[in-house]
Amino acid sequence: MTSPASRTRASEFEHQFIGRTREGARVKTGIAELDEMLRGGFMEGDAVLVAGSAGSGKTTLALQYLVNGIVKFGEPGIYLTFEQMPDQIYRDAKNFGWDLRKMEEENKFRLVCTSPDLLLESQGENLLDGVIDELHPRRIVIDSLSHLEMFVAKGDLRKEAYRLVSFRKTKGMSSLLIWEAGQMSGNSFSVTEVGLSFLVDCIVALKPVEIESAVRKALVILKMRGSDHDKQLRQFEITPAGIKIESAFSNYEGVMTGSPRRVGSEKFMEMFRGASEKHK
């Protein structure tokens, strides 16, 4: 009979060298408030979709997830991008104090830049096998599925995304997939329209909202397979140190629809405050 200690060692071996995920293990983002919302972090090996419109903070969140993985948890990571000029990613990261080039020199990080058609042709393995052998990465970011969509026949995105997600799962990597959602206001949410939502295990949506003539950023976990999670829409800011998640939009309703309004109790409180000011 095997002892619990030897079972743990065996599980650790499988995790390190075969890529099998540990049951119930969490992958922390290193952003304390987000990890709290995720009840400890993403589930290990899960495919997470980060969806949002341009400028909503998707790349910052993805980079912070990788950098924290390296710095705080000793988990090497790959950032796979289809952007034309990825050197901007190094520059933008440096503005947050994240020296990606140094992490590359230390063999903890790789920024791989390629064309979506090559990734599709290689089915991932051949393209990344050298990097995977060198780094033994635990985290990967793919920026973005929206770029990939431009290179696949209409209706094939689901199939290709499924292949990508499956490949990374068999390698034991937790993947974060970026999706540029053009339509993030109003009632509809385009991630569900292209049918990606059932492929991924978790969806984090980032969304700009207009409140009292100012644009604020909101984050919500729309789905997390096999785990409880915070359902509230939380305000966040991009600070010089990265993403900082703040309180929920508790005084507003209809924030997801793009036309938030104050809840009745808040209106009442404001009237009450106004009246008491007059009496002073």
């Binding site: 034309q84 000029m85 990825p86 050197d87 190094y90 590359e104 790789r110 920024l111 791989v112 830049c113 390629t114 064309s115 090559l118 042709e121 290689s122 051949n126 393209l127 990097v131």
Partner: protein
């Protein structure tokens, strides 16, 4: 001509080679076809293929088969060696000029 001089001559004798080196140094994880790389520096595949071949011969770039396509990428180890060779050569030239 010394090895260092040959390397420097290969690196500096064409503008395209210079552009390719800058591109791959700024984006050391770039993996793309000749056409894809050419697009990134605003040129055509035809215009850069000879220079790519020279850099592959020098060892700074390497090729790899991905499906039916051939891609080029930076050989990080060889690139470091080449940079060291160039740096040492520049140092020795400076020293001899000072003497």
């Amino acid at each position: 001509m010394s090895e260092a001089q040959q390397v420097i001559a290969t690196l500096l004798s064409s503008q395209v080679r210079g552009e390719l080196l800058v591109l791959f140094h700024r984006n050391s994880g770039l993996v793309d076809t000749v056409d894809g790389v050419a697009r990134r520096i605003g040129r055509t595949g035809f215009a850069i293929e000879n220079d790519v071949r020279d850099l592959v011969k020098l060892g700074v770039l390497k090729t790899k088969k991905i499906g039916s396509s051939e891609v080029i990428l930076l050989d990080r180890a060889r690139d470091r060696e080449v940079l060291e060779t160039v740096a040492n050569h520049i140092k020795s030239v400076n020293r001899s000029e000072q003497n």
